[in-house]
């Protein structure tokens, strides 16, 4: 296999890792006000703060490591396909700026939320503001990554010097917006499934109940996005991966509805991975098609680094990727236990953990 193919595949793998992992922690962030509402809950929001802590702590040990997949995807693109990195990052300037701002406030929010004033109205305001940061900081990138990838696959105006010649409105076309809604919806579902799998008590039951309501709209959006993608850019082989994505998503939803949380999470994870595979498969051998003139498209050949750089980086990746996968997997194993209200706030009354899945969630 050519080294450019290896690196195209590796970058697809890095984005897959990023979306599968950070996808659920984006989802958890978006669901913060939904699954632990301060108002309108059956208990009047009395446990809202504890439930939010349950949710945030469920991703606490891993979100930062998940985000590194993005940094490595960026760095690997810089090293292996400098032209791609340069055209993409300068061309998608404003959306990336928004993503950066979102990731900054979100990261700080996780770390600072619990370190503010201990009690009183000041403490409440402190947590409320950081909760907003978590929500918007998760929602914005979950949406914009979909917009970005839809545009990459669809193609954008690029001139002979590999410079992007469009503007922000070029990027906000209907297909890209559909892509954004799809990633936002799928990541939210993925987050709900993750919470059902990783927590116990109210948060778990509410996440399950939400699953029933989210299932149909998410499935419709994802199916529409995959279908449009395949109609405009599809290839025979990627129809297979798109079908895998659709089946995995539906299977995941079905498993979730039956309370098989492990299988549900596997389903949404496979669906995200198969979708990334579909997008990259449609892209190949381009990395950024030009809508101005196909001759101006960036391809795995004209955007790539020298064979020597690719060879060096291949060795580095071959040696170190398994090590990273090993210790990240081990982290998930260490923190495999379900989180409950009692675990994060021992003062909380005991019931809830084993309660019937209907009572509060069915409100």
């Amino acid at each position: 296999m050519e080294l450019t193919t290896v690196w195209f595949t590796l970058i697809a793998v890095l984005w897959t890792g990023y979306f599968v992992l950070e996808g659920f922690d984006f989802g958890v962030g978006v669901l913060l006000p939904v699954l632990a509402p301060r108002r309108g809950a059956a208990d009047g929001g009395a446990h809202a703060d504890t439930d939010r802590r349950v949710m945030i702590n469920s991703i606490g040990p891993v979100w930062d490591g998940n985000e590194v997949w993005l940094l490595v995807a960026g760095g690997a693109t810089f090293a292996a396909f400098p032209e791609w990195y340069a055209t993409l990052f300068s061309g998608f300037y404003l959306p990336l700026l928004l993503i950066l701002v979102a990731l900054i406030v979100r990261g700080v929010a996780f770390e600072y939320r619990g370190k503010g004033p201990a009690s009183g109205p000041e403490a409440e305001r402190w947590r409320r503001n950081w909760d907003r940061a978590v929500f918007w900081g998760s929602l914005v990138p979950a949406f914009l990554w979909g917009v970005a990838f839809a545009n990459i696959v669809r193609g954008v105006p690029i001139d002979a010097n590999h410079h992007f010649t469009g503007n922000l409105l070029t990027l906000l076309n209907p297909y890209a917006l559909l892509g954004g809604l799809t990633t936002l919806a799928v990541f939210t579902l993925h987050g709900a499934v993750f919470l059902a799998l990783k927590t116990d008590g109210e948060v778990r039951w509410r996440a399950r109940a939400l699953l029933t309501r989210l299932a149909a709209p998410v499935a419709v959006l994802a199916a529409a996005f995959l279908a449009v993608t395949q109609i405009i850019q599809g290839k025979p082989l990627t129809w297979v991966t798109a079908a895998v994505a659709a089946v995995a998503l539906l299977g995941g939803i079905a498993a979730g509805l039956r309370g098989r949380e492990g299988w549900a999470f596997t389903g949404t994870a496979v669906a995200i991975a198969a979708t990334v595979a579909t997008l990259f498969g449609d892209l190949w051998p381009n990395v950024m098609p030009s809508t101005t003139d196909t001759a101006h498209s960036l391809t795995v050949h004209n955007a790539a680094s020298s064979p020597y750089t690719l060879e060096v980086m291949t060795w580095v990746a071959v040696v170190f990727t398994p090590v990273v996968l090993g210790y990240q997997a081990w982290t998930y194993w260490v923190f495999r236990r379900r989180l409950t209200r009692q675990a994060v706030a021992p003062a909380e009354p005991t019931p809830g953990a084993g309660a019937a899945p209907g009572a509060e969630a069915a409100r």
Binding site: E67, E83, V108, S305, T321, Q328
Partner: protein, 462 residues
């Protein structure tokens, strides 16, 4: 101002800001790991409380370093796309290695450390903070190797067809002499930052006679680390000056505002006059020192700005090859000055607290608290010096800064991003400093909060 100037300001602001937090992360992670090791060895609960107290301050700082670092990774492509196209083949490799080898290590093991107090066996838990600390240092190594390539390009060739730099030896890039002297300089500066931070926070509590046994030990440990680090910074800085004289004579000449080649060359501590070199009204000079710094010989010849400018014009064509001399002159002096004061503070502090003593007057405590700022100021000056001193080049001798900017990013877009980053960073600075001060004042967790064996509560969960 055009997109180029604005992009330069943005890169300067975001990078200097990022590097406020990074040295403290590197220095403090090692110190906290040391404290936890002391607890592991002695089982003295005092060290556990010390670890948790400084660990919390470390995490407040770490978060800022992480999130501002994401911007750095994106910014090359966003604002410097022509630079990225030109150097990607060489420069991208250490950046990608940083992500794969360092970022994963520090983020994953720090997550394990924060949340793993009650889930991991103590020895393994101790290993997680050391691995995170090693990750921060590895990260520094790779990014400094990348930066050193901009200061002194090695292990590359220019592709005659595309005109781009291509990697010919990754080994040369990773063992660049510039990187080998810069890395210890930065790591020692980071340890100095962490050391004086611990000492300053400790002194604040000692002044109030709170938790004296704990903070006495912490302060002394911080001061010892600071002293060793200050010596390390000086020695590595000296080596660096010689490498710099050889590889970037213009930067050395601009550091001293030395216009005419001199032998022996004196070092001016302070100058009043016009710093573009025209007139000097008064200056305080130490003879032979510049010669010694630059060459290692008291009578060595140091090239002046004018001669280097003439040589570069012949080599690279007409144009100005002189950086902004007042900036290089003053940042160089201030860097050394702040570092020197930091070292002095460490010596004074160790002397005043020797053999169980505690200074009774308020002055040492005030100085130690204010002294926290010294390494931060020195770090900032050092980076401004080394980056401004390289101008007009972005890659020394190969590409000018003005040729590296993104041609397809409009002035309006850079105005937007510069405004957003500046405002956001200012707000976050206020929040982070206030939070840090609050937790620093609060002091360590009370003794009896040691977790019960049957129901351990993770101390650091969000």
């Amino acid at each position: 101002m055009n997109a180029l100037d604005l992009s330069r300001w943005q890169f300067g602001i975001t990078t200097v800001y990022h590097f406020i937090f990074v040295p403290l992360t590197i220095g403090l992670s090692a110190l906290v790991a040391g404290m936890q090791t002391a607890w592991h060895r002695t089982k003295n609960p005092l060290y556990l409380r010390m670890t948790r107290f400084f660990g919390k301050l470390f995490l407040i700082n770490f978060a800022m370093g992480v999130v501002t670092g994401i911007v750095q990774e994106f910014q090359f492509g966003m604002n410097w796309s022509d630079y990225s196209r030109f150097v990607g083949d060489v420069f991208g490799a250490p950046l990608a290695m940083e992500g794969l080898l360092a970022f994963f290590l520090e983020s994953t093991f720090l997550g394990l450390w924060i949340f793993g107090w009650d889930r991991l066996p103590p020895r393994l838990h101790l290993a997680t903070i050391w691995l995170a600390s090693i990750g921060t240092m590895l990260s520094a190594y790779f990014i400094l190797a990348a930066n050193s390539w901009m200061q002194h390009p090695v292990g590359y060739r220019i592709d005659p067809e595309t005109g781009r730099a291509e990697l010919t030896s990754i080994w040369q890039v990773l063992t660049n002499s510039t990187a080998l002297v810069t890395f210890p300089h930065v790591i020692f500066a980071a340890l100095l930052t962490g050391g004086l931070f611990v000492a300053g926070v400790g002194a604040w509590h000692l002044a109030r006679r709170r938790e004296v046994p704990l903070f006495r030990r912490a302060t002394r440990a911080g001061l010892v680390v600071s002293l060793v680090a200050a010596i390390g910074v000086t020695v590595s800085g000296d080596l660096q000056a010689r490498v710099m004289t050889e590889q970037q004579p213009m930067k050395m000449a601009a550091a001293e505002a030395l216009y005419e080649t001199s032998a022996p060359a004196s070092f001016s501590l302070f100058t009043i006059g016009s710093l573009d070199g025209g007139e000097e009204l008064w200056s305080l000079r130490v003879p032979h020192v510049l010669s010694f710094m630059a060459t290692g010989e008291p009578d060595g010849t140091v090239e002046g700005v004018n001669d280097v400018q003439r040589a570069y014009e012949q080599r690279y064509g007409p144009g100005s090859y002189t950086p902004v001399v007042p900036v290089t002159y003053w940042t160089f002096r201030l860097m050394i000055g702040f570092g020197f004061l930091a070292g002095l503070l460490a010596v004074a502090g160790l002397w005043l607290t020797r053999r169980g003593r505690l200074p009774s007057g308020p002055w040492f405590h005030r100085a130690a608290l204010a002294g926290i700022a010294l390494p931060f100021l020195g770090n900032t000056m050092g980076w401004i010096f080394t980056e401004m001193g390289r101008q007009p080049w972005v890659v020394m001798g190969l590409m000018r800064t003005r040729d590296g900017v993104s041609p397809d990013v409009s002035t309006g877009e850079v105005v937007a991003s510069l405004t957003v980053f500046t405002v956001l960073y200012a707000v976050l600075a206020v929040v982070a400093v206030a939070l840090m001060a609050r937790h620093a004042r609060k002091g360590p967790p009370p003794q009896d909060q040691a977790p019960a064996a049957d129901e351990p509560v993770p101390a650091f969960s969000y």
